[in-house]
């Protein structure tokens, strides 16, 4: 051994350790800036009235007001009812469909995943608008049909507690389904067979074995769905006032939009309560699962044959059909009709394509389409990239880095889009150097990315869980450096999931209304906002047409994507590679 060799290695070791410290420091700082710092604004905002730029003093008033106001407790109880009831329905329904789709021989199960994915295309705004036309008490299409067959007048009233519950429950079911599908696909079906051998009937097996054995997936999905219901804005906003239902997101909206001047402290105090609630939910889920490992117990996997169900399977087929009818077909039909009416919901003025012509010939409206496409593509990519990076750090690192990163990316879970947007606005106002960011598309894009992180993270987790660290270590052993391993092995292997996640995140960005509402620059109008503005100005039928155009565009993207995927898969199959499918987004 020559001294110089040794010294070289020693210097290289030092250099590596310094570079890695610097890079990690940078990583920590960026996470702090993007995820943690803006949220501290909420706490600050709770105690300080007005914008950060105004010289308002610190006050406990908003906080006290929030807790002494009866409205706060009404809001809390209404939100809680919705979360518990809708969460329970969405998750159990999603679990049932996931089980049907993954584990059984129910006819029509092959259609479930594609239909559920299509279902995700329909943003809540349009879903609600569709149902308003179908199910309003006075002249909803379904009520009119019902009257023809002799049902009592107004037998369906969508603008009511049951109506809102149905909308939210069914609305989140596709997402719950996709969250749990993977768990049902990967579970060992022998667990059910063992119960059957023990003499348990199919029903008993389902409730005592099948469901509990996917505990983490179910509670994980339940947590996410609960958070999403807490944050739900569009449906409660459009239905809640009529039905006298007040929830966190709509109340916060009222405080910052309908009170003049905006009551920030009350809004932030509500947001703080919401954050604490979500935190409690999160801790409950953690403690439920603590000390248990649900990983598959075996080395060898057993066969995955669908479970043979008796005639009962036709009941499930019927359930699939009913669900799709209620959640996809009917609202879509309503939207198609609505998009061709002169006045949304007015039949006797005839149907025409005027609204489509209006959109395509109005440069401002057609510009929203390109704006949205750009936002969705860019934001979806950014969201998936950030999710993948942070999830990777969480999966491969221990100690502080892991805890810190998972905490940071957890934050957007707890914040409704509106609060998130407000927090970012305050955050840039506080630091003069950031102020030029105000009113830029960049800021809106960043916040949209952050808002989509919970969804993208789920997908990234699923993708990385399948990636054994040994695949990377094998790369290191082969002499490849970190970056090379990351690019040539990790990225390459998660590519299919990445693409699926990108697409899904893009969809969520298209559907996001709360963030653009606060942060969109006047000349950058995403479709969700354009549609909401059309809705606000009584041009709902033009809004419906706008949605149909977006849906058509998304369908084309999916079809082209699916086609490309098929070609790719066939090409891979020729080389024999196993390819991962879009249903990957499931876990």
């Amino acid at each position: 051994m020559t001294a110089t060799d040794f010294e070289r290695d020693q210097r290289a070791s030092l250099r590596r350790s310094i570079t890695s410290k610097v890079l990690w420091g940078l990583f920590i700082a960026v996470l702090a800036l993007i995820f943690i710092y803006p949220v501290t604004m909420i706490i600050l905002g709770t105690f300080r009235d007005g914008l950060p730029t105004s010289p308002a003093p610190f006050t406990l008033q908003g906080f006290v007001d929030a807790f002494t106001s009866e409205m706060t407790w009404t809001t809390l109880s209404h939100s809680s009812i919705l979360v518990v009831v809708c969460g329970a329905i969405a998750v159990s329904g999603g679990a049932m469909f996931a089980w049907v789709g993954a584990n059984t021989n129910v006819p029509g199960r092959k259609w479930l995943t594609p239909l559920m994915v299509i279902n995700l295309f329909i943003p809540p705004l349009f879903h609600t608008m569709g149902w308003l036309m179908l199910g309003n008490k006075q002249n909803g299409l379904l009520n009119q049909l019902g009257q023809l067959i002799g049902l009592p007048e107004g037998f369906i009233n969508i603008q009511s507690w049951p109506g809102l519950i149905m909308l939210l429950s069914l609305g989140y079911m596709p997402f719950a389904y996709l969250l749990m599908l993977g768990a049902f696909k990967n579970r060992d079906q022998a667990l059910d067979e063992a119960a059957s051998i023990s003499g348990a009937s199919t029903m008993r097996t389902f409730f005592t074995i099948t469901l509990p054995s996917v505990g983490p997936a179910i509670t994980g999905a339940a947590l996410l769905i609960a958070v999403l219901v807490f944050q739900a804005f569009d449906s409660p906003q459009m239905i809640g006032r009529q039905a006298g239902i007040y929830v966190f997101s709509t109340q916060i909206y009222r405080y910052v939009r309908d009170s003049v001047p905006a009551e920030y402290t009350r809004a932030f105090a509500l947001a703080l309560i919401l954050i604490i609630l979500v935190l409690v939910l999160f801790l409950v889920q953690r403690s439920l699962l603590r000390g248990r490992s649900f990983t598959t117990l075996t080395g060898k996997t057993s066969r995955r044959e669908p479970q043979e169900l008796g005639p009962v399977r036709w009941v499930f087929t019927a359930l699939i059909a009913i669900f799709m009818l209620l959640n996809l077909v009917l609202p879509l039909i309503a939207m198609i009709i609505g998009s061709m009416q002169k006045i949304y919901g007015v039949m006797n003025l005839g149907l025409s394509f005027d609204n489509y012509v209006t959109i395509l010939s109005d440069p401002k409206l057609s510009a929203t389409l390109t704006t949205t496409a750009q936002l969705a593509i860019l934001g979806g990519f950014g969201s998936m990239a950030v999710a993948l990076l942070t999830t990777y750090v969480v999966a491969r690192r221990g100690g502080f880095l892991k805890a810190y990163t998972s905490f940071a990316v957890w934050i957007p879970w707890a914040l409704p889009g509106l609060v998130l947007a407000l927090a970012y606005m305050f955050a840039i106002l506080y630091i003069p150097a950031f102020r030029p960011l105000y009113g830029t598309a960049a800021l809106m894009t960043i916040v949209l990315i952050v808002a989509t992180i919970p969804v993208s993270s789920r997908i990234a987790e699923g993708a990385l869980a399948q990636l054994s660290p040994e695949l990377e270590e094998a790369g290191a052993i082969s002499g490849a450096g970190r970056m090379r391993v990351l690019v040539s092995i990790v990225l390459r292997l998660v590519l299919p999931s990445f693409l699926a996640g990108w697409f899904l995140a893009a969809l969520f960005i298209i559907g996001n209304l709360a963030v653009p509402l606060l942060l969109a620059p006047p000349k950058v109008t995403p479709v969700s906002m354009a549609a909401y503005e059309l809705f606000l100005s009584g041009e709902m039928s033009t809004g419906a047409a706008l949605f149909m155009i977006i849906l058509a565009a998304a369908t084309v993207v999916v079809l082209v994507g699916a086609l490309a995927f098929k070609v790719f898969a066939r090409w891979q199959a020729k080389r024999g590679h196993a390819t991962t499918s879009l249903s990957h987004i499931a876990s």
């Binding site: 067979e193 023990s198 005592t208 074995i209 509990p212 490992s293 117990l297």
Partner: protein, 385 residues
């Protein structure tokens, strides 16, 4: 307590047959093992018996009850058959504790809580897991999980228990212990057991009877010693660990002993014919590595040969030799306890060997039920023990 009768059992997946008409009779209290290579249909047979799979055609009766009769459209599903099963993957329920796992079948059978508890205790005692009741099953080692699976399968005292490669995930020490436990519990509770494995040692050690399967058919069926000593086909011989299987032609028959000239050589080996053979007929002669001995007698003739050691592998108590005799590679195993260290043959040594004609077998090609098997067998030339 449970006799099983199977007749004409077939199972097709898509258009492909996995079972080609199995006929089988399992006596009450018998311990029967299905043995065969991967993909031969062992699991399928077991699952048809357990009711987890719907046979394409066939009839199965269990303790005088018809559980499957495809002609009469009878199919009793698994939960109505009162059977037990140990899954290869254990299939323990991760959300339940050890005691809850074992108690589940008892709960389903509506056993009183008092009885249930004492039965769970008894079963855990039997598998040596008393004191583990409260543990989540995920916090157990592989062997312990295996034992819980066993206790669960037996808890409701089913008349018949199915085991699907229950030990294949264990290391050899644990495998042996657990095998013994399975057999002990079988004896104690007088159940009927149907056991699937692809490990011949396990099959021999545990079973009353072994059924060797190949591509959806039963190729031989008999007591372990029978199969071990007197395989009827090259297929079974290979499976039973005959390391040397040499094709040739019958030169002479004396009673049940036949002499075979090995193809392409001048070697003549004698062995017991496991079915009638005639002079001039094609047949294989097969013998175990341990049934050739170093022969200092200087005699020549059938069963004696000379060869050069090509490779010596030290195994502890024995050495494995690869000997080339008349161009033919032969596997020979010599116990070192018989030899001084300097006597251990080394590569390059010339050895004279004698094959024990009472232990070698002559296998008529007529019994080679599986076409084309011989051609693929070259892959299996060397076997570990």
């Amino acid at each position: 307590m449970t006799e099983v009768l199977v007749s004409g059992l077939t199972k097709q997946y898509g258009g492909k047959s996995a079972l080609h008409g199995i006929d089988l009779k399992i006596a009450s209290g018998e311990f029967v093992t299905l043995l065969g290579p991967s993909g031969c249909g062992k699991t399928t047979t077991l699952r048809c018996l357990a009711g987890l799979e719907r046979p394409t055609t066939g009839r199965i009766t269990m303790a005088d009850r018809v559980v499957v009769d495809t002609d009469k459209k009878v199919f009793v599903p698994a939960d109505k058959r009162k059977v037990g099963m140990v899954f290869q993957s254990y299939a323990l329920w991760p959300h339940l504790s050890v005691a809850e796992n074992v108690a589940y079948p008892l709960k389903v059978a509506r056993l009183g809580s008092q009885d249930r508890q004492s039965r769970v205790q008894e079963m855990l005692q039997a598998v040596g897991l008393a004191g583990y009741e409260k543990r989540p099953v995920t916090a157990l080692s592989g062997g312990q999980q295996q034992r819980v699976a066993l206790a669960r399968a037996m808890a409701a005292r089913p008349g018949i228990i199915f085991y699907d490669e229950p030990l294949s995930n264990l290391d050899s020490k644990l495998r042996y212990q657990m095998g013994q436990q399975v057999r002990a519990l079988h004896n104690q509770f007088e159940t009927t057991s149907v056991y699937v494995t692809h490990d011949q040692e396990e099959a021999i050690t545990l079973s009353d009877r072994i059924i060797v399967m190949s591509e959806g058919n039963i190729v031989q069926d008999g007591a372990p010693a029978d199969l071990y000593d007197r395989p009827k086909s090259a297929y079974v011989a290979d499976f039973m660990g005959f390391q040397n299987i040499l094709p040739g032609t019958v030169e002479a028959v004396n009673g049940n002993v036949a002499d075979i000239r090995v193809d392409g050589t001048s070697l003549v080996l004698s062995g017991v014919a496991t079915s009638a053979v005639q002079v001039g007929e094609r047949a294989d002669v097969a013998f175990r590595a341990a049934h050739a001995r170093i022969d200092e007698s200087g005699l020549t003739g059938a069963g004696r040969l000379e060869g050069v050691v090509e490779r010596t592998t030290y195994l502890g108590s024995a050495v494995n030799l690869l000997v080339r005799a008349d161009g033919l590679p032969l596997r020979v195993r010599v116990e070192t306890s018989d030899l001084a260290p300097e006597q251990i043959p080394a590569a390059g040594d010339t050895l004279r060997l004698a094959v024990n004609p009472a232990r070698a077998v002559v296998l008529s090609h007529k019994e080679a039920a599986v076409d084309g098997y011989l051609t693929t067998m070259t892959d299996a030339i060397v076997s570990p023990r």
